[in-house]
Structure formats: C-alpha cells, structure tokens
C-alpha cells in the first residue's frame, strides 16, 4: 500500500469517526450515568427483551459472524430508544443474551408509573419479544451460629460422604453456583474455583456470606486438615455472582443479575446449576433455565416451603426442587440443610440452616453422579431419574451413587454378609 493510499484510508477512518461524534449523541442520549448503589431502586426498573436475529450470511466477507453484528445491534438500540421516548422511560443499559436469542435492555420507570403495568403494555408492542418487571429474589436459608466447627457435617453421617468419595469426587464436573460473592481464597476454597465472574454491576465484588457458604458445601477442599469437606471436592466450581449482600445476612438478586449469571453458566458449559434462591415467576429466567436444560445441564433450586409448589424457580419442570430436612413439600426432595457447618467470609466456618444449603448438597451429589455417568442429563430429567429417594423423599446418597457406579458403595461388607446392600439391583426397589 502506498503512502498516498494509506493517507486516503486514514482520512476515511477519521471522517467516519467525525460522523460518529456527530450522530452518537442521539444514539447514546438514553444512556445514563449509573446511579450510586444507595439510589438504585431495582423494583422500579423493567427489562425489555428484543429478538436478536440469529447470525447469518452477510455479503461483506470481513464480517466474522456472531451476535455482535454491529448493524443489527444498533437497529435494536434505535428501537428501544424510540420505545423509551414513547413511554417516558430511561434506558440504563443493555446486555445481549445470545443463548436465548434476545437482547435485554434495562429501563428505569418513573416513580409515577407502575413497572408491571408498563411492562405489560410494552409486551403488546410488535417490536418487543416481551417485557417484564425487574424481580427481586432472596436466598432460602439463614445463618444460625457463628462458631467454628469440626466434623459435624450432616452429610458425613447421613450420606456417608467418605464412602461416596471412594467412588467419585465430582472430578472435572462443572458446577455453577449462582449466588452472592464467594471468598475464593478461603482456606477451604482456595484452588476450587475454576471461574469467577461478577454480574452485579452496582455493588462492588466482595466475599459474601450466602455464596461462600453454598460454595463450601458443594466443593470445599478435602484432606487439607481444616474446615469441612465439600460433597464434590474435585468439581470445577463456577462462582457466578448474581446476588449481593445488601446488609448481612440479607442477600438480594434481580432478574437481570441472575439472567447474566445463568447465561454465563450456559456459555461456560456448566453441567450442574445451583440456584439456592427463590422469588416471583420470571419469564426471562425461565427461558434461560430451559435453555441450560436443553444443553444438558441439571438445574437444582431451593424450594420455598411457604409456596404450594416451592415457588420459582423450584416449581419449573425438570428443575430439581430441594428442601432442608426440617421441611416437607410434596414436590421437593429432602437433603441435609439444618445446622450445616460450612465456609464463611473472613476465612471462617459456621453452621447454616435452610433449603439453600440442602440444594447445595444435591448439586454436589449430582456432580458425583455425573462423574460416573456423564450422559445422564442428555434427556429430560426429573429428580427421581438421577437421585435415589427414600419413601419419605429423603435423598439416599449411597443408593444414588451405587446406581451411577453400578456397584455397592456404602457398607458393602455388612451388606454382603446380610445378602443385601446398596447395589444397583437393590436400588431398583427404591
């Protein structure tokens, strides 16, 4: 390329930049400076979802493909800017969710209007796939003590964890913990987190109570002489921060933060997705959960015993709903969740109680099952397909692993002497 040609090209690029500077204000006018966390009222926001065309042929050979197609994205931005002007809303930000084929726009609704009504009206717009209020979710558990603990894990006794680990440790299974921040350098979690990402933009990343506790139950290190043993100590933990600790021990999540974390879990090939939380029905989250399931992920959710079917997302089809052993719910399975010692921020350990932690147990157990039978989630799944249950819907961990391993796992010598055991044949009777 001659100097003259290069100069012409650079002049053209400069001309384009000048054009951008001239037209950009109109395009970006709706973008606002993020408010301070204390000023943000998430419940006064809505999500507007626009269909994102699938990537396709373009005549310009330089186009590398993918949903990042700038022309299509600017078209969607024009649409949402027009809608924002028409409805008196303020565009906050947008996030593409290619796994669902939608672009998700966040808009502030003026205090004089009700977000659910605005969302309903917007949903009727032909240009909108759907709109919904920004829902707020809360974990299904609480901390009960602040004492250091040793050897008191319910799973160690009821699930005979040491014997399960002789068969499987969750090696190489990717478990996404969508929760508040995890203390990655906790002595029991150091080296366990394969991927960490923050999807709560307005709240600085931090080690938080609920996420750290759930992560410890799933995958705390084994044989390090401190703390506890995770149910799946060799699983690859994906610590996806979709919730934040508003004031200890209260934790909150929104439709958007959970959606982004779920999308990351799908992109990262998570085989188990742990959702130790609950809230109102949410179409965007439901679509993402179904998308994760369609790609072979097992989704575990903590059930709310105050709701007839455990509340959202535990009430979704093929989501494995779990309650703690202090609760009962016909649609949920029961796992240890009372006075469970686990990891806490500040490199501490303490006991926690709630369905959140029962769900974490089941997510860990699924990692063990998937290590032994990686293809188990290839078809639509419900809890009984993967996990052996007793008559009272309590999880039979030994039978679950024995079924996956096709051999006896727990107390095999005694079982052989008695002529029974947790072999695959005997498990079939559950």
């Amino acid at each position: 390329m001659t100097t003259v040609r290069l100069a012409k090209l650079l002049a053209a690029v400069v001309a384009i930049i000048v054009v951008i500077l001239l037209v950009a204000p109109a395009v970006f006018a709706a973008e606002v400076k993020p408010a301070e966390p204390s000023e943000i009222d998430e419940t006064q926001r809505i999500l507007v979802l626009l269909d994102m065309p699938a990537p396709h042929f373009r005549p310009d050979g330089n186009y590398a493909g993918g949903y990042a197609d700038p022309a299509a994205r600017s078209a969607r931005r024009r649409t949402v800017n027009a809608l924002a002007r028409s409805y008196g809303l303020r565009l906050v930000t947008d996030w593409p969710l290619p796994a669902l084929g939608v672009d998700c726009f966040v808009l502030d609704v003026p205090a004089a209007q009700r977000p659910d009504e605005v969302a309903e009206r917007l949903s009727r717009e032909p240009r909108v796939a759907w709109a919904q209020p920004m829902n707020v979710f809360k974990p299904q558990g609480r901390a009960t003590h602040d004492d250091a603990l040793f050897g008191l894990q319910p799973a160690a006794r009821e699930w005979q964890l040491a014997q399960l680990h002789a068969a499987a440790t969750g090696r190489g299974v990717r478990v996404a913990v969508i929760d508040s921040g995890v203390q990655r350098d906790h002595p029991d979690l150091a080296g366990q987190v394969a991927l960490s990402a923050n999807f709560v933009a307005d709240h600085p990343e931090a080690a938080e109570l609920h996420g750290t506790a759930v992560a410890g139950i799933v995958a705390a290190r084994a044989d390090n002489r401190v703390g506890i043993v995770g149910v799946a100590p060799q699983a690859e933990l994906l610590a996806l921060r979709g919730c934040w600790q508003s004031s200890a021990p209260d934790t909150r999540c929104t439709s958007l933060s959970l959606a982004l974390a779920l999308h990351k879990a799908i992109e990262s090939g998570a085989q188990v997705v742990n959702l130790s939380l609950g809230g109102p029905a949410d179409r965007l989250l439901q679509r993402l959960i179904e998308s994760a399931q369609a790609r072979g992920a097992l989704v575990v959710a903590a059930a709310d015993r105050g709701q007839p079917r455990g509340g959202f997302p535990a009430d979704l089809a093929n989501v494995i709903a779990v309650v703690d052993d202090g609760s009962a719910l016909p649609t949920a399975i029961v796992a240890p969740g009372t006075d469970v010692p686990t990891t806490l921020p500040g490199s501490r350990w303490a006991t926690v109680t709630g369905s959140s932690y029962a769900a974490a147990h089941v997510s860990g157990l699924l990692a063990l099952v998937l290590e032994l039978r990686p293809g188990i989630a290839a078809s639509p799944t419900n809890a009984a397909d993967v996990i052996a249950l007793r008559a009272d819907r309590r999880v039979d961990a030994c039978a679950s692993i024995a079924r996956a391993a096709q051999r006896c796992v727990c107390d095999c010598e005694q079982a052989a002497a008695a002529g029974s055991g947790n072999s695959a044949d005997s498990i079939a009777r559950h």
Binding site: V19, P53, R58, P59, G61, G65, D69, P70, A71, I266
Partner: protein
C-alpha cells in the same frame, strides 16, 4: 454510480427516519484493500461498501450491498450484491441457514453470477458451503467452503479468523489454472467502540482457481478496515 449511491442513501433515510424497525440495519465501511476470498477486487486500492440488511421475525432475511471494484487496471465497476436467505435456531443454540446471492457488475454484466449457500452457525463460529454454477460469468462451476470464528478478548476487543477453499467443479472454460483449488486465510484483531468497528487483519491466498481477471497483486497483505453502523 452516483445515482446508485443517492438511491441507497435515500432508502436508508426513508427506512431509518420513519418508525423504528427492529431489525433493519445499515453499515458503511472502508477498507485498505477489498479482498474477496483472499484476492483483491480493488487492485489493492482502498474501497468502500454500503450494506443494507433486514431481518424478519420469521427468520427470513434479505439485503443488498454496493462496492467499488476494479477487476482490471483502471477498469472500474460497481458491484451490487442482493441476497436473501432463511436462518433458524436449533435447540442446541446453533443455527442453520440457506440462501442465495446475486452479484451484478455495472458496466460489464458478463461478470454477473448467482450463488447459493447453506451454513451451520454458532455464536463464535460458522461453517458455510457456497455453490456457483457460473462463477463471475466465467463458465466455471465452483464450490466455496469457509469457516469463520471469533474469540472475544475483552468487551470491545476480539480475535477473528477465516479460512476458505474455492474448489473448481468443472465448466466450459475449464483451463488448467481454473482446475486448481485456491485456499485463503484471514486472521486479525477487531475493536468495536459504539457504532464503529475497526479491524486489522492479514489476508492471503494461494495461487490458482478461477477468477474474473489475471491476478498479479501480492498474495498476502495487511488490511485495515473500519465499519460504521446506522
């Protein structure tokens, strides 16, 4: 040509100025060398391109682009490409598509040709097979197979790559040179900032294969391009 540009700009103004259509987009790009399947169609000179694309809710799409080309030294034409296709998502998150494009060269319609294509696409990669029964009007049937991928480095920065093979399948003017399969490669770095996307890439191709003109330019070169979307 000026009339063509005026018509295209008028279309953009009409379509963008009215009620916002969710899936209508337009781009204007300039590049240091218009490399089509690895070979320059602008005699190694800078070229511009205007593209319009419309995506329908059904999955159908259609569009057109206009580009300045120079198939032989000082032989300037405008290449107008119209295309239409259909893309549908699979439950795996991937997509399949099929469609056709028609290239018209103002000033010498003997170069005009039709091409059909089918592809399997994902968020970060795509595979496509094209078939042209009369490639650039040279009387040669060809298949072109290409793979594209990109990898995000940050929110605004990405690596991308393209590899393609132009395979002659026969035809009435099937010369020895036409019989050779030509492969091409494009590797680079892309940066997006708002409406602007800038790419720096190395582009190269092997010798041989059917082409509209005897190509004497360099086989490999660096290419700088900027794309503005509306």
């Amino acid at each position: 040509m000026r009339r063509t540009i005026r018509t295209a700009l008028a279309m953009i103004a009409l379509l963008l100025g009215g009620t916002a259509q969710a899936q209508l987009g337009a781009t204007l790009s300039v590049e240091s060398d218009y490399r089509f399947r690895g070979v320059s169609l602008s005699d190694s000179k800078p070229a511009w391109r205007l593209t319009l694309n419309h995506d329908f809710v059904s999955g159908a799409y259609a569009g057109a682009s206009a580009t300045r080309v120079e198939l032989a030294r000082d032989d300037h034409y405008s290449q107008l490409v119209g295309y239409a296709g259909y893309v549908t998502r699979l439950s795996s998150g991937r997509s399949v598509e099929f469609g056709a494009s028609f290239s018209h060269f103002t000033g010498d319609a003997s170069y005009d040709y039709l091409e059909a294509y089918a592809g399997l696409l994902a968020e970060r990669w795509g595979l496509r097979v094209h078939f042209a029964p009369d490639y650039f009007g040279r009387g040669v049937r060809v298949a072109y197979v290409d793979a594209n991928a990109h990898w995000p480095l940050t929110d605004n920065l990405r690596l991308f790559g393209h590899a393609g093979a132009l395979v002659p399948l026969g035809g009435r003017s099937f010369s020895a040179d036409d019989r050779r399969t030509r492969t091409d490669l494009r590797l680079g770095l892309g940066m997006s900032a708002g409406l602007l996307d800038v790419q720096l890439a190395w582009v190269g191709a092997t010798r041989g294969g059917p082409y509209p003109a005897v190509y004497t330019g360099r086989r490999g070169t660096w290419q700088l391009s900027a794309l503005l979307s509306f």
